[in-house]
């Protein structure tokens, strides 16, 4: 019973060390090729990144409005939007006893913005349909 309990620990470790596999195609040549491709790819990315400001300058000339579109003044998630501030103000005045009822408000986190609601939002900001 004890021998069966100990069974899987009878690990006979026999190290076979050999340099021979290194000379195969799947040895040092593969390792060199791997390092080469990794460096090549990341050097390319690095070069692309250093060029990015120039590419941006070109893009800004031809598509100037886009950057503005991408950075709308709407509050980022986590910031407190004007709407929330209004709600809090209302809540506070309510808490202070003024009889003014909050009808309906929503937290505008992205999680809450179900698709139809996104639709509702976009309708005010989106492109005018072409005639």
């Amino acid at each position: 019973m004890i021998s069966s309990f100990l069974h899987p620990l009878t690990l006979g470790i026999s190290l076979n060390f050999s340099l021979e596999p290194l000379w195969h195609d799947t040895g040092i040549p593969l390792a060199l090729m791997g390092m080469f491709i990794v460096f090549f790819a990341l050097i390319f990315i690095s070069m692309f990144i250093s060029r990015l400001p120039h590419i941006m300058a070109v893009l800004d000339k031809y598509l100037p409005q886009a950057e503005q579109l991408l950075n709308p003044p709407k509050p980022r998630e986590g910031e407190i939007s004007d709407e929330v501030i209004a709600v809090i103000a209302a809540a506070v005045s309510e808490a202070l006893g003024k009889p003014h009822r909050i009808i309906h408000t929503r937290e505008l986190t992205s999680r809450d913005m179900a698709w139809p609601q996104q639709g509702r939002w976009q309708i005010q900001t989106s492109h005018i349909p072409q005639k």
Binding site: S4, F5, L6, H7, P8, L9, L11, G12, I13, S14, L15, N16, F17, S18, L19, P21, L22, H24, T26, G27, I28, L30, A31, L32, M33, G34, M35, I37, V38, F39, F40, A41, L42, I43, F44, I45, S46, M47, F48, I49, S50, L52, P53, I55, M56, L59, A66, E67, L70, N71, E77, S110, R111, M113
Partner: protein
């Protein structure tokens, strides 16, 4: 008298239905290891999001089960087998990369293009370990999977193992996550050994502002560069930059948010737990597992050293030198290795904040080891 006999025969029969008859010392050892993982995660805060699921999974996977029941990850038709499918076929790792992409901010990298190369240099750990494993008698496929431990990227290691050496997957995954958790223990001595105090005091310039448009273009361009050169990295790199595009493009915020919260959480729970469950003693306690752990440690050390030494090599040519500690962040282990760099920088000079700079080689290291995995897979796939 007969009744006593009857009772004792019944008791013996009862004993056979428990887990005790199948319990070997190996299972006990593995259960202790699992509990150690859980302890380290809770008491030391070592990668708790991974070590808790893996640790508890190890405990679950080493409860011996009654013969003939389909319970474990290796039993056809069992629940754990269906959940393990995502590990075995490499489905979970790309989904985790999707979430990582959706939570990664590449802007420090975009303002520090030179630091990208440190993420390449650290991959020397992958390929030297690959060669070492070859010498120790692993097949080329197995050696590739073992080497990728040096990439310091759990999902990448699991993905490549599932493709090249499924039988070693458990050991490789456990080794990768163990060392990732131990980054704050492994890296500092190497960092102190290979750098002088003057080097550690080097301050980096404040990164420039990166525009939204750059952050949108980057994942697409980087994806094309990486996968045109190493198409084997398609799935990992594709999901990583897809997630990042969801995050940066401003119009799919809800998708990015789901990808980096509940989606990655669900996959992490299943992946960690199943990897843990796959380490039942009879599969895991093999001589090769010990070799894999030894090679994994070497791999991490070499990768750390490679990054640091390459940073010093770059400094020979640069006007504005790089703090070579940043090279250690080239092993990915996001964000632990960047944190270690930061803490050691602060140790020398409480004003030297390296965290933001260290994130650049850190995320470059993720890309680098995914490419390395792609190359190894494409060359060694049978």
């Amino acid at each position: 008298m007969e009744f006593v006999e009857y009772l004792s025969s019944k008791a013996a029969q009862l004993y056979q239905t428990t887990a005790f008859p199948g319990m070997h010392v190996g299972n006990v050892a593995m259960i202790v290891i699992g509990l150690l993982f859980v302890y380290l995660a809770i008491a030391k805060h070592y990668e708790p999001l991974l070590l808790i699921p893996i640790g508890f999974g190890i405990v679950v996977g080493n409860i011996p089960v009654v013969e003939g029941m389909s319970l474990g990850v290796y039993d056809e038709g069992s629940v754990l087998r269906y959940l393990y499918f995502g590990v075995e076929k490499g489905v979970y790792p790309p989904l985790i990369f999707l979430g990582i992409g959706a939570m990664t901010d590449f802007s420090t990298m975009l303002s520090n293009p030179k630091l990208v190369l440190l993420g390449a240099a650290a991959q020397v750990g992958v390929f030297l370990t690959f060669l070492g494993a070859l010498c120790l008698g692993f097949t080329p496929q197995e050696a590739g999977a073992v080497g990728i431990i040096g990439g310091a990227d759990g999902p990448t290691a699991i993905f490549l193992s599932s493709k090249l050496a499924p039988s070693l997957l458990g050991a490789i995954a456990i080794a990768a996550y163990s060392y990732m958790a131990l980054v704050p223990v492994i890296q500092p001595p190497i960092m102190y050994l290979l750098t002088s105090r003057e080097e550690r005091l080097i301050k980096m310039k404040r990164p420039r502002h990166v525009s939204r448009r750059e952050r949108i273009i980057f994942p697409i361009a980087a994806f094309l560069i990486c996968t045109l050169l190493a198409p084997g990295a398609l799935v990992l790199i594709g999901m990583l930059f897809f997630g990042n595009l969801l995050k940066e493009c401003t119009v799919t915020e809800r998708l990015a948010n789901t990808a980096r919260t509940v989606f990655i959480d669900i996959v992490t729970i299943l992946l960690g737990f199943c990897v843990g469950c796959s380490t039942s003693a009879d599969h895991f306690l093999q001589p090769t597992s010990i070799l894999i752990f030894v090679l994994g440690a070497v791999s991490f050390a070499v990768a750390t050293g490679g990054g640091i030494l390459f940073a010093k090599f770059m400094n020979l040519f640069l006007h504005e030198p790089i703090n070579p500690l940043l090279g250690a962040a080239g092993v990915s282990a996001v964000p632990d290795s960047a944190r270690v760099v930061h803490v050691i920088g602060l140790n020398e000079d409480p004003q030297n904040h390296l965290l933001m700079h260290a994130m650049a080689p850190n995320v470059a290291g993720v890309i680098g080891s995914a490419i390395a995995a792609g190359v190894l897979w494409s060359q060694l796939a049978m």
